[in-house]
């Protein structure tokens, strides 16, 4: 048995496993960046990573703190302007997977990163959408990673920053969207995939040591479980070693800054 792992490590590794060498991936900062680079350094060496600052096919050896650190540009195949990034590469349909997260998510994987409370008199003003509204509809499919909590997994989100499956069913298609939307939601407890018909996010795999009660307690809606639920394989020693090595390199490179 490999050594013990943290729930966040399990989440990052489960997200990394979802990526393939053939993917062209639009990467966000934080957990998505860790997962994408872990995939590149383990089972998906040829994956193409794109950051919205304009860096195409970047291969950072450390995790950037921001979306546009010099490390991304230094190791990229090429760097394009931001309008070109959003027009040709994202809107042009060149990206197979987009990674998103959020402050709030609902059962159809619509995301809120804009505001808690009302828009005009916000209780908490969040950073806003950034690239997410168009990433959510222009990438071939969307993976979402979020730490499971009742505060974040809510029955109704306060603001729709980016479209998941809308009201469910064929809502995306009715809006004229041809991409798949959220196909996987990876948390620190389990993995959800959308139901084939209703598109409600449904638990398909539970991480080692996690119970259904834990998932139910941390979700603000009545969780649906697939008929066949898999056990998420525990992180392997090579996966854990690679992930910890990335974080150690990042910490060293940023000195006392990381």
């Amino acid at each position: 048995m490999p050594e013990t792992h943290t729930p966040t490590e399990m989440m990052t590794i489960a997200a990394a496993r979802a990526l393939k060498s053939s993917d062209v991936c639009f990467v966000g900062i934080g957990m998505p960046s860790a997962a994408c680079n872990l995939a590149r350094l383990t089972h998906a060496p040829d994956i193409t990573l794109i950051y919205e600052s304009g860096t195409l096919a970047t291969k950072p050896s450390i995790l950037p703190l921001s979306i546009g650190d010099g490390e991304l540009c230094d190791t990229a195949l090429t760097t394009v302007s931001v309008p070109e990034m959003f027009r040709y590469w994202l809107q042009g349909g060149r990206i197979t997977v987009g990674f998103l997260g959020g402050a709030q998510i609902d059962r159809f994987a619509n995301l809120n990163t804009t505001v808690v409370g009302s828009y005009d008199k916000p209780k908490t003003r969040l950073p806003g959408g950034g690239g997410a509204p168009e990433i959510a509809t222009s990438c071939g499919e969307i993976f979402i990673t979020m730490t499971h909590s009742r505060r974040g997994f809510v029955d109704k989100i306060d603001f729709v920053t980016s479209l998941g499956h809308g009201e469910g069913g064929d809502h995306r298609a009715r809006l004229g969207v041809t991409t798949k939307g959220p196909t996987r939601l990876i948390t620190d407890l389990c993995v959800f995939e959308p139901d084939r018909v209703s598109k409600e996010m449904t638990v398909v795999s539970i991480h080692p040591g996690v119970t259904r009660e834990q998932i139910d307690t941390n979700t603000g809606w009545k969780v649906r479980y697939a008929d066949q639920i898999a056990d998420t394989p525990a992180p392997t020693a090579p996966e854990l070693d690679a992930l910890r090595a990335i974080h150690a390199r990042t910490k060293r490179a940023h000195g006392d800054q990381a």
Binding site: L65, G68, T114, Y119, G129, E134, G176
Partner: protein, 284 residues
């Protein structure tokens, strides 16, 4: 035609109270020194346009220079919130801040439309989301060829664009390399522009034939401010000061602490302070 000026003179001559001002730079090359000069000259009622307001607008907003912000992502990258901007939005301190919020796609397209002399940008976006419900400047248009409904936003045409670039030559031509963001579009979309640079050279020398160059006749003022992008970075000159971005979280959380910090580090200083930061970071 570009004029070489001091930073104080360039801001004095080109940025007026009530202007719409776009200070761009996508993580890389953020014109912080120019932002500090705007604060020192106590400009008021500015409309601040920027995709990612970042620390530069957190400082301007906290010092009361703006009454409106146009943006698409208002965070401290990799760290968290912009506390001064949030305080203005949530509590109206130091004054109320109106805002117009977009997505990155919309703003990138709107800058490009501005540079292209078009009245609006057209793109595929804002589908199934709430921003169009709260921002009346987001509308739709039907493609006359295919019938597809597309999003449209007004072109960004700022009174003034301010950017930081790597080098200018003696004629005032400006060179940008690395992550170039929307700076070229912002300058070409604006009525006036100020470009701060790391250095002024006799000749750009060997360079990529497709390098991003803003010809001297597209720029109003060129100012040499070594380190002028700190705490962001200048490719080949100095790295991003990630520690500063992290420290800003604590500095900006508290109103009095923020004001005290701004007095010591901005109001009582000048652009030469940036050169010291560049020397320090280049040595790291």
């Amino acid at each position: 035609m570009a004029q070489f000026m001091s930073l104080a003179a360039a801001v004095e001559a080109n940025i007026r109270d009530g202007d719409t001002l776009a200070m761009e730079g996508f993580t890389h090359l953020i014109p912080h020194a120019a932002g500090h000069e705007v604060i020192r000259q106590r400009r008021r009622r500015l409309t601040l346009i920027r995709m990612t307001p970042d620390l530069i607008y957190d400082q301007l907003i906290g010092m009361g220079c703006a009454d409106k912000a146009v943006f698409s992502w208002c965070g401290n990258p990799g760290v968290g919130s912009l506390h001064r901007m949030r305080d203005a939005i949530e509590n109206g301190w130091p004054g109320p801040l109106a805002y117009e919020e977009h997505s990155h796609s919309a703003m990138a397209n709107a800058y490009e439309a501005g540079a292209a002399g078009l009245p609006c940008a057209v793109f595929r976006g804002y589908i199934g989301v709430d921003l169009p419900k709260v921002n009346p400047n987001i509308k739709s248009i039907v493609c006359p060829y295919t019938g597809e409904t597309l999003a449209t936003v007004p072109a960004i045409r700022p009174d003034v664009a301010v950017i930081h670039a790597l080098r200018a030559d003696r004629a005032g031509n400006v060179l940008l390399e690395g992550i170039v963001g929307v700076q070229k579009q912002a300058v070409l979309a604006a009525k006036r522009s100020i470009v701060t640079v790391e250095e002024i050279v006799d000749d750009f020398g060997a360079r990529n034939l497709n390098a991003v160059i803003l010809p001297a006749w597209t720029v109003t003022a060129v100012v040499c401010v070594p380190g002028g992008a700190h705490p962001s970075y200048a490719q080949g000159y100095y790295k991003r000061d990630n520690a500063y971005y992290k420290k800003w979280d604590a500095i900006s959380r508290d109103r009095d602490g923020f004001l005290a910090w701004m007095k010591t580090n901005v109001l009582d200083k000048g652009p030469e302070a940036f050169a010291a930061e560049r020397r320090r970071l280049a040595a790291v």
